[in-house]
């Protein structure tokens, strides 16, 4: 059989149309296409694709089942290792993970593993969820702090092993960054909630509106709440600002605020939803990561006439996924490279009217291997904007570290945990995801949740 050299294209909303709505951009494969794409898999014995998956999904096996139209079998196989396949199929950077190692990809396009995963997960959500096996109750209780990707994965694994799991979530819905951060047009919130519901079917108890460190500390949960172990997956939700003059002016948002208002609070439906948001005619988003792309694309959908990414390095250094930057560009987001603001200018009423910026050039590579940007003296110029979104990164929220005795953190505030086991300096307390590594990807956080679940299980079995 001849090899089909290219991935089957993913149908998507037209760029001009989608830039004005919050509906999902990528529309997903239909049954015929997914079978054709799955048939591109060579079923190679070495299974190199599995090395690239942080949660070790049995990729050839689920793809084989999909190729045979056994979607129930395929999703069952997927969920042995991955509690959130509908999420991962959409937001994983497959080009750096499973698909990077695909044998077909050596000479042609790799197999569209993420797209097949997404189809199978969506098939299950549409056709009714299959029951999953749960072990006999062990009588052990585990507290999971935070319901983002790491916490959800850790909870699912421990519940399947028979432990009694309670997730404590500070916000009013579970999902963490999947709910407040990643926009609806990349990851529909209904899809996230459907996967959260699946977890509840495993017996996972989810308490929303529960801020650990405030209503109770981790120590209180363990001592008074009777929890035998805890997993801290509190993420990197503390926004960094530039610390330049004018940053508190009206019209300056952190990306976290801008995206939380839009995604979690549905400000795009205002006034049918109560939370307002203000987007002017010209928006500047500072930063070059996925969060910056999400904010810039969101600004257009909220009605901005121009949405700019202002980034101090050049296009080649953009930390965002290539596909995200491309989607942004297709939708009309503009890029100002080698540019960074020195101050934000505002009017008598304290509203933003512009940014004074410097132009940069690239110097020697820095410790991270990227060429560091050097400001060009005397290159000051002003960009007229009325809204600024700061998307230069996030750090770990200090609420839990600050209130947990004996929990060691590094100088950036990240919890110190053994990456092989998830163990922290505190016996019985494990941690993983962005709160340990700093802001990274959904799938890496899930991998850390899996690792910690294995360690917690071993710890509880010996206890």
């Amino acid at each position: 059989m001849a090899i089909i050299p290219n991935k089957h294209p993913m149908p998507a909303q037209d760029a001009a149309v989608r830039a004005k709505n919050f509906n999902e951009v990528a529309l997903g494969y239909d049954e015929e296409t997914v079978v054709a794409e799955a048939s591109r898999c060579l079923q190679c014995k070495k299974e190199p694709c599995r090395e690239g998956c942080p949660v070790e999904v049995d990729i050839p096996a689920f793809i084989k089942l999909a190729a045979q139209r056994d979607f129930a079998g395929a999703i069952k196989k997927l969920k042995e290792k991955n509690a959130l396949p509908a999420v991962c199929g959409r937001v994983c950077p497959q080009e750096n993970q499973c698909e990077k190692y695909c044998t077909v990809g050596k000479k042609n396009d790799p197999v569209g593993i993420g797209r097949i995963e997404r189809f199978c997960a969506d098939w299950e959500l549409a056709n009714g969820v299959l029951p999953q096996q749960v072990a006999e109750p062990t009588g052990k209780k585990v507290a999971i702090v935070g319901s983002g990707p790491s916490g959800l994965t850790c909870a699912a694994d421990l519940a399947k092993l028979g432990h009694q799991v309670t997730i404590f979530e500070a916000l009013h819905v579970a999902g963490g960054v999947l709910m407040y951060g990643i926009p609806e047009f990349r990851l529909p919130k209904a899809v996230v909630q459907a996967e959260v519901q699946n977890l509840k079917k495993l017996g996972v108890n989810i308490q929303v509106n529960a801020v650990v460190g405030k209503f109770a500390t981790v120590d209180q949960l363990m001592e008074e709440g009777g929890f035998d172990a805890a997993f801290l997956g509190t993420g990197a939700g503390l926004p960094y600002f530039m610390n330049i003059p004018g940053e508190n002016a009206c019209g300056v948002y952190s990306a976290n605020e801008f995206l939380t208002r839009t995604n979690l609070m549905k400000a795009y439906k205002f006034p049918d939803a109560d939370t307002p948001i203000r987007v002017g005619k010209r928006v500047a988003v500072l930063g070059g990561g996925n969060v910056a792309m999400d904010a810039a694309r969101t600004a257009l959908r909220l009605g901005a006439e121009e949405s700019w990414i202002v980034y101090r390095r050049s296009k080649t250094e953009l930390p965002a996924r290539h596909e995200e930057a491309e989607h942004a560009e297709e939708e009309g987001v503009k890029f100002a490279f080698l540019t960074s603001p020195t101050k934000i200018i505002y009017d008598d009423n304290y509203w933003v009217t512009g940014m004074e910026c410097l132009r940069y050039e690239l110097g020697e590579p820095d410790a991270s291997g990227r060429r560091s940007p050097v400001p060009i003296e005397g290159s000051e110029f002003v960009i007229d904007v009325d809204t600024v979104v700061v998307a230069i990164g996030q750090g770990p929220n200090p609420l839990v570290p600050r209130t947990t005795k004996g929990l060691e953190c590094n100088k950036r505030g990240n919890i110190i945990a053994n990456l092989e086991t998830g163990a922290t300096s505190k016996p019985g307390v494990y941690a993983g995801g962005d709160v340990v590594t700093g802001a990274a990807t959904v799938i890496l956080a899930m991998g850390a949740g899996r690792t910690a679940a294995n360690s917690i299980h071993a710890y509880l079995s010996g206890k």
């Binding site: 209503f215 508190n248 976290n256 939380t260 006034p271 049918d272």
Partner: protein, 285 residues
């Protein structure tokens, strides 16, 4: 769900609820706040804790109807449930035996000043309370404050009850009369807290205010509530809400507090038009 166990209309547009929230009540302290959401697709609004009962597992909230969400909230009744209720948030008030202290509550700020006054008195302070409102009918909790304070003075802007004058006028009198006052705690509308701070600065009287900036999550993840204190950016939800009033950039706060003024009016209008009832709010037409 968070059930309303008690409702009391304290004054026109000012209501009190006791809300069943045992997890919040078990650790709530004076000076902290909660965030609530009335309905699905509702917004998250912060309210300062006015009282708590650990045994009953309830939190008392007092609020004024100023816009869509608070107007809607005022229509809730005993037995109804709020969609979401989270806390206790923020840092508790710093309580110790300072000696003689003055607590000032303006308008709806009389409610959050109450647990602070009580805690200060329990810590051995001589607590002089000053409460004020625009007019006598808007004043509430006089008895409760009288119990929580060593001495209570009451004033109204229009003189319709007890006496005429702003809380700052009374505060000035107290300072002049008593001499050594170790601390002032003032909670109320922004202009009132600003006026108190401007005045106490002249007397070098340390003044703590509770800042009511716009909030979304209330847990330090967005920076919506940021304020400049002593030249530094602080997040009111996690670093506050109480700060040294002499260090607060009130001008900046005042401007940030009206960011959504237009949208707030749109939301109110939208609510009135879509709201079918006979409560006299003008809805249902």
């Amino acid at each position: 769900m968070y059930k309303i166990l008690k409702k009391e209309v304290l004054a026109p547009t000012i209501s009190l609820f006791d809300i069943e929230a045992p997890m919040v009540a078990r650790s709530a302290q004076a000076g902290q706040f909660v965030i609530l959401r009335t309905i699905d697709d509702g917004e998250r609004i912060p309210l300062t804790i006015a009282d708590f009962d650990r045994e009953k597992g309830t939190i008392t909230c007092v609020f004024q109807e100023v816009g869509k969400t608070t107007t809607e909230l005022a229509k809730f009744n005993v037995g109804d449930c709020l969609k979401d209720f989270v806390g206790p948030l923020g840092e508790p008030s710093h309580i110790e035996n300072f000696g003689r202290v003055v607590v000032v509550g303006g308008g709806v700020g009389v409610a959050p000043i109450h647990p602070i006054a009580r805690a200060l008195k329990e810590a051995g302070n001589e607590v002089i309370g000053i409460i004020g409102a625009r007019s006598g009918d808007l004043l509430f909790w006089e008895d409760k404050l009288r119990d929580a304070c060593t001495e209570l003075r009451v004033t109204t802007d229009d003189g319709s009850y007890v006496r005429q004058g702003f809380v700052t006028d009374v505060l000035k009198e107290v300072i002049e009369e008593k001499g050594d006052v170790a601390l002032c705690v003032a909670i109320g509308p922004l202009p009132m807290m600003r006026a108190v701070c401007n005045m106490t600065k002249d007397y070098n009287l340390k003044t703590v205010v509770s800042l009511n900036s716009i909030m979304v999550d209330g847990t330090g993840m967005c920076g919506c509530c940021r304020v400049t204190v002593g030249g530094q950016t602080k997040f009111a939800c996690v670093d506050g809400p109480e700060f040294d009033g002499h260090q607060v950039d009130f001008a900046e706060m005042a401007r940030r507090s009206v960011i959504y003024k237009e949208q707030e009016q749109v939301a109110m209008e939208h609510y009135r038009q879509g709201h079918q009832c006979t409560c006299g709010c003008g809805g249902g037409k």
